[in-house]
Each structure stands twice: as structure tokens, then as C-alpha cells.
């Protein structure tokens, strides 16, 4: 009986800890993103893809930046959250075609990504080129 009380007490502490972690994470996330809809999934916007396709071909991935740090670009895509690996060979271009750095990306930026899945197991998408698109997408004719 005493053991059960101890187990229950410790279990309650763990449960409260889990809930606190979850609530804290949600608080941090919504504090940054706001409560404007589902920010982990986005409807693919047409964007100025005509120019992109002419120059680079059809992008492999499109979405909005959630987080951009050296090594990883977290996106919200039409399939949900996706993480893209970026490395020293990845090129970053802005709307005008000028070179930029991964640190220049801001949360909410619309991007088109060109790259491929890792040959070994296919679970890592390595970006070759990331192009930032204008914030207001134009509708594809």
C-alpha cells in the first residue's frame, strides 16, 4: 500500500511535468507564431513560379519557413512540417535572385526548395537551392 502511494505520487509528478512541458512548448510556439491558423501546414501558393520554372525547373518542395538555422530549415508545407538539411553547398537566393544566407530567412518566408532525398535511406532531404519568394504570391495563369 505504501509502495502504491509512492508510485502514485511520483507518477503524478511525472504527469504534471509532462503537462507543463506541453503547455510551455505550446506557449512558446504560439507566442512566436500567433494564433493565426495552422502554421505547421500550409496551402501551396502558386507564387511567381513561372519565373522559377523557367530558370530552375519545377521546385521539389514549397512551403513557409518555421525556423532557419545553420544545418536545418524547418518548413510548413502542404504535407505538414518538414525538415530540410542545408549545408555549405546549398545556395540561397532572395526574390531578386541575389545570394543570401540561411540566417537571413525569417519565420513565415515563402520558399521554393530544390534538392533531393538522401540516397542512403531517403529520409533526409538535402537542399541544393532555396529561393525566397515574394510575400504576396501572384496567381499562376
Amino acid at each position: 500500500m505504501a509502495q502504491r502511494h509512492w508510485l502514485t505520487a511520483i507518477g503524478a509528478v511525472i504527469l504534471v511535468g509532462m503537462l507543463v512541458c506541453g503547455a510551455f512548448s505550446l506557449g512558446v510556439y504560439y507566442g512566436k507564431q500567433g494564433f493565426s491558423g495552422d502554421t505547421l501546414r500550409t496551402t501551396p501558393e502558386a507564387g511567381p513560379l513561372v519565373r522559377l520554372r523557367d530558370e530552375f525547373g519545377q521546385p521539389d518542395l514549397r512551403g513557409r519557413v518555421r525556423r532557419a538555422v545553420p544545418g536545418v530549415l524547418d518548413l510548413a508545407t502542404s504535407e505538414g512540417p518538414r525538415s530540410v538539411e542545408v549545408n555549405t553547398e546549398t545556395r540561397f537566393l532572395d526574390e531578386s535572385g541575389a545570394t543570401m544566407n540561411v540566417a537571413d530567412f525569417r519565420s513565415g518566408d515563402l520558399v521554393a526548395v530544390y534538392g533531393e532525398l538522401n540516397t542512403v535511406a531517403g529520409r533526409v532531404f538535402i537542399a541544393r537551392l532555396v529561393v525566397r519568394l515574394p510575400p504576396r504570391a501572384t496567381v499562376q495563369p
Binding site: 500500500m1 536545418v72 538539411e85 538522401n118 529520409r123
Partner: protein, 815 residues
């Protein structure tokens, strides 16, 4: 000693419960209970009462003086009664406890006789008594005392036969749904599924960490005479996935206390919601490790719960063995070891003091994990592209191939990113089980903690470690890695649902007259709940249906038919190359065609000097660094022209993926001379002269007019273009797009630069288009239009026949 006679309210064997001289309440430990009248002595209860019991009357503890008129309640630590238990008996506390209640001044037990228990449980008194005695003897032989068990409601409950039947039914429903939506063969949407469909057939070595058990089980499934090899491996995913769902039900039903109303309904609800979640379903219809891993995950838990009940060393060995084997499905299962250890120690800490049990556990786990030594034997079969720079040779190499693989993906996020990563997990949980399931699951956690504290630590321990690890895992499609966590959350959901149903039932009983009305309400509620369990089935069916994913097979069946003798074929390498390797490795298709990057092939430039070279990879990809393709050194492609010969057709399920732009469904021929892209005069058999955006479709030649489903038609399209930057066109059937390509297949810019201008001239495209084997027989309209534009032009009407079944056609292509 006074022995006031009492009458059992339910049983036909009255029970005499003497008071002790010390005035302690009711029957005390060690006290023999005699029956008055005919019937077996309650020796079983006597022995049960030898176990320390928890006497409780509200807040009163055992040993406290009991006043006359007070109620006392004792609860034995002994519980497995003769099944089945009837939930309709409201007084029955189920298989977890035999309870009786006494009132001061005379003991009036409720379920205090063997016959009463037998009446509740539906068995004969003699059977109940014999079983109690036998089980108690076994426990005493084992030396397992009740002290470690008595302090909680009880052990997990052995499932009744009815529950086995329900589990089988749920598995069957799941299996049928998976079967109906199963990928017919190779998958367009799975990144490494085609490799995992091929490797078992040849008992080869998959990408790190190797998946030995998956390979062996897959080999067994490839022996089933149905479909083709890839279909059989897909079938393994569906079958083991369905078994995992049944296992989930059994786990839940063993954990849910019998005192909770609607436990079977809650368990079925949770299992079905999990079965038809989008990620679970998506993995159960392709060749992947995640659905089979769930089956072994469930089996490991079931074995652990079985050991918990029996406390036998051989069952401990079986659990450890199954756990070790499960690592051959997915190595991340190793993360559950700490939670298993905690649970085992909480169940019976004396395991540490029993060398026999420790040896049994280590031996079982070691035997299961020894499967990875098989990898060492397969070194010679490794695809060089999959080595990650390490050959599984020696212990160091073996470690690097297994536990050390993908180290760059693990713990790849800084601490500051963890809150957001946790939100990603919560998002995925919501996507999988629904928003309501999160809240119900939280309630279930509380219920599990209060009712099954030891099992709480088991499940929460597994859950927390799993989530904590994978929120820091840097992969593209994270959702598949959380399936075990979602599995555990489904258990929490079941607990929460059972509490809700219990509360609802109490309300119904309170507000409605007892008897039939209560049963009707109960049944209606159960029906409503079960119907809602099928909501994910209907909602996710369309997305999960991969039964029309025939793009890869249709394409390659035509490729093997079209390639000339002794041609060379460049393909993608690594796991993606198995679109093509499958045919060669599983069936030995076209041994004359040289595949330089096939596992084990030795590419040499001389091998392709005199051969016609074809490719399923575009020129740009071939020219890039060999991250996706590998071409023999010395093969000059920089000046080569890539002429498109065959274009594969995408179907609905394959069109929904964003994995790649789909250029691997095109067969190119590498030529040193420019193709005949521009013609001076166009004389198509079908004149159209239809402006489409900036271009004009002059006409087309289409042959044959009658085509076999899965076959190909020959298209010659004539375009008058305004310049080299030509738009993308879409060719389809009945206005449903089959393929998209840029006019000229990407050669116009180079043609204009090297040969001559194209503006105002007629560009001719000459290629074959694959007709999907899912296309129904009959007449169809072949249409063309500008990509994403609504307006389409009908090229011609064609007749599709289906004289060969698609499997027959694919297998014929294998030769």
C-alpha cells in the same frame, strides 16, 4: 470462537466468518473459513487470505480497531477467476479482485464464497476452487509472494476468449481495409520502400541498420503465391500491421480494470482509431518496417504482461527474446529497455536476486539481438552506395552500420528548439488520432496512474523516452517515427474513454430505471462510440488508398520491352535505384541490359563504349555530383543529348506526393547528335491548330488506336512555339493528367543555342506514353492542355483493352 452464521446474498453456500479473539475485523490472514452446509471448503480463500490483504474501509487502515456496526472490506490479492466475466453483473469486480464486505455485528459478505464467485464468473464452484488452489500452489512454488502485488488494484488481466475473438475481429477489419488499399507492387511514394520490397526476396542487405528480422520475415512472405514479389512484401506490412491492431486491443483489455464500464468498447475504439490513422495506414500499405515494427512492439508488451501474471522464468525468457527480435524491425525499440527494467523491478524486484531469471533475460535478449551478426555475413552483398563509408566488417564496422548509423540525424536540434519540436510532435499526434484523443488521453493518463501505477510507469516511461528521442531526430518525414508513441497514446485514450463511459453509465443508472432501460442506454452508447471509431476509416480512405499506385511497374514493364539488346541503362543509385534493380535482382529481368549501379555491378567505361546508353535520370541530374546517380567514370555525357523515348503515367496516389518532380518516370536515350526537334513542314494525321497560351498545337499522330491497359501509345505532337522558353504541357486521359513535360523535354534552349532558332517554327515531340494499368476497359479521350489550365484539347479517342491482367503483364515483362 463465535461463529455467527451469515448467509451469502448471492451464493448458495453460506459462509461462516468467525471473529478472531483479538477482535480484529472479519477473517484475518491465515484464518480458515468454513462453510456451513454442503460444498467445498474454502481452502482456496484461506490460502488467498494468507497473502497480505489490504483492508480498507474508507480511510481506515488494517489493524485499526473496528467498532460494531462498521463496515470492513478486504481485498484479496488473488484474482484470476474462471472466465468469462460478465460485465452485465454490476456487482462483479471482475477478475482483478474477489471482494467481500462485512458489516459489524455480523458479517454479511457479498462475494465471499466460492460458489458466489463461480456464479459471477459463470463457472462451476468446483472449477473455481480448483483453479484458485492450483494458482495459489503455483505461486507458492514460485516463491512469488503477494506483497509486491497487493498494494495496487492488481495485475494485468488474462484476456478472456471473447476478447481474443474481438481482437481477431478488429485485426480482420483492419487487414481487409489495408488489403483493399494495398500498393499493388512497387511504390511511387515510398522513399526506400522499393529497396525493402526487393531485399527480402534475395535475402540481401538493406540500408543501415540492415533490418535482419524484417528481411527474413519478408522472405517467408515472398513465398506466398499471390501477386508479385513486391506485392507479397506489401502484404507483410498489411498483415503485421493488422496483427498490431489486434495486439493493441489485447494490451488495453488486459490493463483496463474490470470495474470500468464499457472496457471492451473503449479498447475497440482506441484500437480502431489507431488502425485508421493516416500515418499507420500509409505504412501498412507499402513495404516498410514501421507496420511490422508495431506488431513486434505489441507482441513484446503482450509477452511482458504475460510474464507479469505467471512470473515464470521461461516466460521471462520469451519476453526478452521477443524484445531482442524486435530490434530487427527497428533499432529504436532499444529505447524501451529502461522502461521495461523499471516495470520488471516494480513488479518483482527479487528478479535481481534470482540468477536464473537474470540469465533467462540476458539469454533471451542476446539470442534475439544476435540476428545482427547475420549482417556481418552479408558484407559481400552490400550496395557500395549504402555503406556510409563503413563496411560492416568487424565489431567497429558492425556498430557503425547499426547503432552508429545516422548519427548526424540524432540529437540534431539545440535545446532552444525543443519546445517547437515538441509542438511538431503534438501536431502529428493530433493529425493521427484527433484533437479529442489528446484530451481524452490526458484523462486516461490520470486513470492509468490511479488504477495501474506500475503499468503507468511502464507505458509513460516508454512514451517519454520515445518522444524525447525523436523530436530531436532530423529527418524529412518525422511522422512515421512516432508510431510507437501514438500506439501508447491509444492506450491512454482507451483509459480515458472507459472513464467517460463509466461516468455516463452511472448517470444513466441514476436517472433511469434499472434493468432494461439501463441496458438499452448502455448498448446505444456503445454503438455510438463504435460507429465513431470508424470515422477515421472513412475520412482517411482516399488518402491511404494506394491500390492504383502502378506508375513504377507500368513504366518499367514498358522499359524492358523497349530497350534494345545489350543496351546500357543509367538509373538512380542507392535506395531509389531499386525501381529498376527490383526487376533484375528479384526476377533476373533482361540480363543483357547493363545496369552500372546495380548492387554488386562493377562499372567500367569500356562496358558502355559500344552500347546504346539509356537513362531514367535527366541530364542535369547526371551532370551533378553523384549524390543521386552514379555513372561509370569516363562516360562522357556533358555533350550528350537526352532524347525522351518513354514517359510514365502517374495515377492519383502517385500524383499526390511531393517527393520528387517525377523525372524518373522518363526513359531517355543518350545521343551524341541532336534529336530532330524542329521540322520544316508538319503533316500530322490529326490536324488541330488550337492555340494554347503562347503556343499552338498544330496536330498530332497517335497510334495505335487500341491499346492494352498498362501498355503504351506512340505520340507525335507538333507545336508552333514562340521561343525556346516553352511552357509545360499536360497529357491526360479524360482530362485527368497522366504526365507533364516541358515542350521539347528541356532541349529547346540548347537546340536554339547550338542548332538554330525555334521561334515561329514547328517543334516535333516523338515519344511513347504509358497507359496506366488501372484504366478501365473501353473508349477514352486522350487530351492535352497547358499545365494547370482548365482548357484541354482532345487529341483522339482510343480504346483500352485489358486482355492481360496487370500482374500477368508485369510478370511477362520480367521474362
Amino acid at each position: 470462537m463465535e461463529t455467527p452464521p451469515v448467509t451469502d446474498a448471492l451464493g448458495d453456500l453460506p459462509l461462516v466468518l468467525p471473529r478472531t479473539p483479538a477482535g480484529r475485523p472479519g477473517p484475518s490472514c491465515g484464518q480458515e473459513i468454513k462453510t456451513a452446509g454442503a460444498g467445498p471448503r474454502l481452502m482456496g480463500f484461506e490460502k488467498v487470505l494468507r497473502c497480505p490483504t489490504s483492508l480498507r474501509r474508507g480511510k481506515r487502515r488494517r489493524g485499526e480497531p473496528r467498532d460494531s456496526g462498521e463496515r470492513w472490506q478486504s481485498r484479496s490479492c488473488f484474482w484470476t477467476c474462471a472466465p468469462p466475466f460478465e460485465e452485465s453483473r454490476p456487482a462483479c469486480f471482475g477478475p482483478t479482485a474477489a471482494v467481500y464486505r462485512g458489516i459489524g455485528g455480523g458479517v454479511k459478505p457479498q462475494y465471499s464464497s466460492v460458489s458466489a464467485l463461480a456464479g459471477l464468473c459463470g463457472g462451476a464452484p468446483e472449477t473455481v476452487y480448483a483453479r484458485l488452489t492450483r494458482l495459489q500452489k503455483r505461486r507458492n512454488t514460485q516463491g512469488a509472494e503477494c506483497s509486491a502485488m497487493d498494494t495496487e488494484t492488481g495485475l494485468s488481466t488474462r484476456p478472456a476468449r471473447l476478447d481474443l475473438g474481438v481482437a481477431g475481429g478488429i485485426s480482420l477489419i483492419s487487414w481487409l481495409a489495408y488489403l483493399a488499399t494495398l500498393t499493388p507492387s512497387l511504390s511511387f511514394v515510398s522513399p526506400d520502400g522499393n529497396e525493402l520490397a526487393t531485399i527480402p526476396a534475395i535475402l540481401g542487405l538493406a540500408h543501415p541498420p540492415g533490418y535482419p528480422l524484417y528481411t527474413w520475415l519478408g522472405k517467408l512472405f515472398t513465398l506466398i503465391p499471390v501477386g508479385d514479389v513486391a506485392y507479397r512484401v506489401n502484404l507483410m506490412s498489411a498483415t503485421l500491421g493488422a496483427l498490431a491492431i489486434g495486439g493493441l486491443y489485447l494490451i488495453i483489455i488486459q490493463l483496463l480494470p474490470a470495474g470500468l464500464a464499457g472496457r471492451r468498447v473503449a479498447a475497440a475504439l482506441a484500437a480502431l482509431i489507431f488502425a485508421f490513422g493516416p500515418t499507420v495506414w500509409s505504412q501498412a500499405v507499402i513495404a516498410e518496417v514501421y507496420a511490422p515494427n508495431l506488431a513486434f512492439f505489441a507482441l513484446t508488451l503482450l509477452c511482458l504482461l504475460h510474464w507479469e501474471r505467471t512470473r515464470r522464468d521461461r516466460h521471462f525468457f520469451v519476453f526478452a527474446l521477443v524484445f531482442g527480435l524486435s530490434l530487427g524491425m527497428h533499432l529504436s525499440d532499444l529505447g524501451f529497455a529502461p522502461a521495461f527494467a523499471v516495470f520488471i523491478l516494480l513488479t518483482d524486484w527479487r528478479v535481481l536476486r534470482r540468477p536464473k531469471w537474470c540469465l533467462a533475460g540476458l539469454a533471451g535478449f542476446g539470442l534475439g539481438a544476435a540476428q545482427y551478426l547475420w549482417i556481418r555475413l552479408q558484407t559481400h552483398r552490400v550496395d557500395p552506395q549504402l555503406l556510409l563509408g563503413n563496411i560492416p566488417d568487424g565489431l567497429t564496422g558492425l556498430y557503425a552500420y547499426t547503432l552508429g548509423a545516422f548519427s548526424q540525424l540524432k540529437f540534431a536540434f539545440p535545446a532552444s528548439a525543443l519546445p517547437e519540436r515538441l509542438v511538431v510532435y503534438l501536431y502529428l499526434l493530433r493529425q493521427e488520432l484527433g484533437r479529442l484523443a489528446i484530451f481524452v488521453g490526458v484523462g486516461g493518463l490520470v486513470s492509468l496512474l490511479l488504477r495501474r501505477p506500475r503499468h503507468y510507469f511502464l507505458l509513460v516511461g516508454m512514451y517519454v523516452v520515445h518522444v524525447w528521442f525523436f523530436i530531436q531526430y532530423k529527418v524529412f518525414d518525422l511522422e512515421v517515427f512516432f508510431l510507437p508513441a501514438h500506439f501508447i497514446w491509444a492506450v491512454f485514450v482507451a483509459f480515458g474513454a472507459a472513464e467517460v463511459l463509466t461516468a455516463a453509465r452511472k448517470l444513466a443508472v441514476r436517472w433511469m430505471p434499472a434493468g432494461r432501460t439501463s441496458a438499452v442506454v448502455h448498448g446505444a452508447l456503445a454503438t455510438l462510440v463504435l460507429i465513431s471509431a470508424f470515422t477515421p476509416l472513412l475520412r482517411n480512405w482516399g488518402q491511404a488508398d494506394h491500390s492504383d499506385d502502378v506508375a513504377i511497374n507500368d513504366f518499367y514493364a514498358n522499359v524492358w520491352e523497349m530497350l534494345p539488346q545489350s543496351a546500357g541503362l543509367l538509373t538512380r543509385s542507392g535506395v531509389f535505384g531499386y525501381d529498376a534493380f527490383y526487376w533484375r535482382l528479384a526476377y533476373g529481368t533482361r540480363p543483357d541490359v547493363y545496369l552500372p549501379v546495380t548492387p554488386g555491378a562493377k562499372a567500367a567505361p569500356a562496358d558502355l563504349q559500344e552500347q546504346s546508353v539509356y537513362s531514367t535520370v535527366g541530364l542535369e541530374a547526371l551532370q551533378r555530383a553523384a549524390s543521386r546517380t552514379l555513372r561509370p567514370a569516363g562516360l562522357m555525357i556533358r555533350d550528350s543529348w537526352m532524347t525522351s523515348l518513354l514517359v510514365g503515367a502517374r495515377t492519383a496516389s502517385s500524383a499526390s506526393t511531393t517527393w520528387a518532380a517525377g523525372d524518373h518516370l522518363t526513359l531517355y536515350r543518350l545521343d551524341s547528335d541532336a534529336p530532330s526537334l524542329v521540322v520544316d513542314r508538319a503533316s500530322p494525321s490529326i490536324t488541330i491548330e488550337q492555340p494554347l497560351g503562347d503556343v499552338t498545337l498544330v496536330g498530332a499522330d497517335v497510334s495505335p488506336q487500341t491499346v492494352e491497359s498498362g501498355g503504351r501509345i506512340h505520340l507525335v505532337l507538333y507545336w508552333r512555339v514562340a521561343g525556346a522558353q516553352a511552357p509545360t504541357v499536360s497529357v491526360g486521359v479524360d482530362s485527368i493528367p497522366l504526365e507533364r513535360h516541358e515542350i521539347g523535354f528541356g532541349n529547346l534552349v540548347r537546340y536554339e543555342a547550338e542548332i538554330g532558332p525555334v521561334a515561329g517554327r514547328v517543334v516535333m515531340e516523338n515519344y511513347w506514353l504509358v497507359i496506366p494499368s488501372t484504366l478501365a476497359e473501353g473508349e477514352h479521350s486522350l487530351t492535352i492542355g497547358i499545365r494547370d489550365a482548365k482548357e484541354t484539347v482532345e487529341l483522339t479517342r482510343m480504346t483500352v483493352t485489358d486482355e492481360q491482367g496487370r500482374y500477368e503483364r508485369w510478370l511477362n515483362a520480367t521474362g
